[in-house]
């Protein structure tokens, strides 16, 4: 997988996937393209990395999937469940809290 992202990126793919699937159902390839687009390619995921995350989220009930034949290929479309929305809200709040804390710490360090 691409190693262009730092180690503290752990958990970010999950947050991004939940956020994107909150708007619409998508399949893996679409999701990777969408992540690149919405993050202005700041986050470059190894493309295979999303499938373990998608399967895990589906296994714990945050996502549901359905097969759909499109252009001669059977796509697996993922969409968010109610549990997934709750998880997204929780992760979003966690992310904002951490982001705020780190930003404050960085500002403090600069001003010190």
């Amino acid at each position: 997988m691409a190693q262009s992202n730092p180690p503290f990126m752990s958990g970010v793919p999950e947050l991004l996937l939940l956020r994107l699937l909150n708007d619409d159902e998508m399949y893996g390839y679409e999701l990777v393209r969408a992540i690149k687009q919405v993050t202005n390619e700041a986050i470059s995921l190894g493309e295979g990395v999303i499938y373990p995350v998608l399967h895990s989220l589906e296994r714990n009930g945050s996502l549901k999937s359905r097969r759909k034949a499109v252009g001669g290929r059977t796509r697996v479309y993922y969409s968010l469940t109610r549990k997934g929305r709750d998880r997204l809200d929780r992760l979003r709040n966690d992310w904002k809290r951490i982001q705020g804390g780190v930003a404050t710490a960085l500002e403090t360090a600069v001003n010190a």
């Binding site: 997988m1 691409a2 399949y27 893996g28 390839y29 990777v32 190894g46 493309e47 295979g48 990395v49 499938y51 373990p52 399967h55 895990s56 296994r59 714990n60 290929r73 059977t74 796509r75 697996v76």
Partner: protein
């Protein structure tokens, strides 16, 4: 980067304890993803060979993919999640199934059993008929 070997990928996932349905579906999704990447590269003007190479690079290492799938405990079979329990349950299940094994084997091979049974019956009838003819020839002759 080499082209991904999707045929051996499912086996590698199963070997690392990933449940069959997740292993097969993940491989199919990854294969479709790879095909999409190749198509996109070809559309952008790359040769078929270069497109496949680029797609493989974008998809990433299959070994790491296997490691990531295997790291998700919830995607593993129960015997990999609870290995100590499996050590107890599997032998007990085998012992429980043992008495039923001949019946299950018979059901599984019922067509052969019917053939054998029919052949034995036919052979018995032929033998009995021959013995009857011999007996009659002794009595009447």
């Amino acid at each position: 980067m080499r082209e991904p070997d999707f045929n051996s990928l499912a086996a590698a996932l199963r070997k690392n304890g990933v449940a069959g349905r997740h292993a097969h579906r993940a491989v199919n999704e990854l294969r479709d993803h790879y095909d999409d990447l190749v198509d996109a590269a070809v559309d952008e003007g790359a040769s078929s060979r270069k497109a496949r190479r680029l797609a493989a690079k974008q998809l990433g290492s299959m070994d790491e993919f296997v490691a990531q799938m295997a790291a998700c405990r919830e995607l593993k079979t129960w015997s990999f999640r609870y290995p100590h329990l499996a050590v107890v349950v599997y032998p007990l299940a085998c012992l429980a199934i043992l008495p039923a094994a001949p019946i299950l084997a018979g059901i599984a091979h019922r067509e052969a059993l019917v053939r054998w049974g029919t052949s034995l019956l036919a052979a018995g009838l032929v033998t009995a008929a021959m013995l009857l003819v011999m007996q009659l020839s002794i009595i009447l002759g």
